[in-house]
Symmetry: C2
Subunit: 221 residues, 2 copies
């Protein structure tokens, strides 16, 4: 009984995601779906990226959380237009809620880069297309090097992968070679960006360059 | 349409969980459902606890993962009877799969303490009773102090909470007072155990004592 219902839910979401993609394209907004475990550093990374975007490219943020508006407050404090989605128990964002959040962003959404911070979860968000251009999956060093082998679906669909909290290498057990081999077992195309957002953040510029190039390439304007 | 299906799934699981509880009681096995984010240190904690159990109390482990048998190999290497469940995409364990795994453990399951390592996920496992006696939720320092506010349901139902990787305090931003306030906003009864499993592990003995006392109390033998 569950399988047909699940298929119907996913088909409905896919149709809404296709509508989103058209809407984003019409507004010249390119969209990054940011997926990771709880506490992998999604918000810190988005803030670090947003402040390094080229002039004229408006950063926009949609924050997804089961509960609370902690992250939205941080993003708003940085002067970035942001809208919070609280799923109240749901374990992923869906295209319809992203559409409504986008429409209620407190800014004219033209020629921007929209970061959608998905729910902290390495499983369920993989199934729900949001109409994004780029799927960015963040892993963090203290989570361990085995995450790609344990959660292969989300690493398989990533367009880009961030290894965050590299300042903690040496303080925890983490084998960078083993991590990359785990990624490559399921994904041979996504670049891996090693970054830290603490102190003098490193690795962020290369990621911004890639996002912007990807942004320009994704659908020529 | 989804809501009646969801209710039926949960009701079916609850019925199977009640059966599990009877089975576990009959075998004098007390059961700890270990829930946490990916990479919070569930397996390391289970290994640290298992080797400190009082004589005569057999440790048993069921490992839940979307994919891979990495954790099961670690547990088996420590000489502990273990069975792997791979959910192949499902984001939580359910009572039926736990029952089947329990029956196939390579040991006589009598007078034991069974650790069920749930899928790495702070959301979905909260809804699925497995027939356990004790719900143990692990948070880890590098995930940040805001997790109880962002994932309140799982912290609300915890019987005990572990704050793991305390060796990383000082290397990351983490306010212990803020963490505890977040827990207490939703749960005023669960003790919080500060532990690290690295190097000379600390805090484990207090947790073993509590589990064993809780174990004896839960259903007098």
């Amino acid at each position: 009984m569950l399988i047909p219902v699940r298929k119907a839910v996913l088909a409905h979401n896919d149709a809404e995601a296709a509508e989103n993609a058209k809407l984003f394209e019409g507004r010249r907004v390119r969209v990054v779906n940011v997926m990771a475990s709880p506490g992998a550093g999604k918000t810190s990374l988005i803030l670090a990226l947003a402040k390094r975007l080229p002039t004229g490219l408006q950063p926009l943020v949609i924050e997804g959380d089961v509960a609370s508006s902690i992250d939205t407050e941080k993003v708003a404090a940085a002067g970035i237009p942001v809208c919070q989605i609280n799923t109240d128990g749901d374990c992923h964002l869906d295209a319809g809620s992203v559409r409504r959040a986008f429409e209620s962003l407190p800014a004219v959404q033209e020629h921007g880069l929209l970061f959608i911070e998905n729910i902290g979860n390495l499983i369920c968000p993989a199934e729900f297309d949001l109409g994004e251009d780029i799927r960015l999956v963040i892993a963090s060093v203290p989570e361990g090097d085995d995450k790609p082998r344990k959660y292969p679906a989300i690493f398989a669909l990533a367009d880009g992968i961030v290894l965050n909290k590299t300042d903690l290498v040496g303080h925890v057990e983490f084998d960078r070679t083993r991590f990359e081999a785990g990624v490559r077992a399921v994904n041979d195309r996504a670049p891996i960006f090693d970054v830290t957002c603490r102190g003098a953040a490193t690795g962020i510029d290369a990621l911004v360059d890639w996002l912007v190039v990807n942004h320009e390439k994704a659908r020529p304007q």
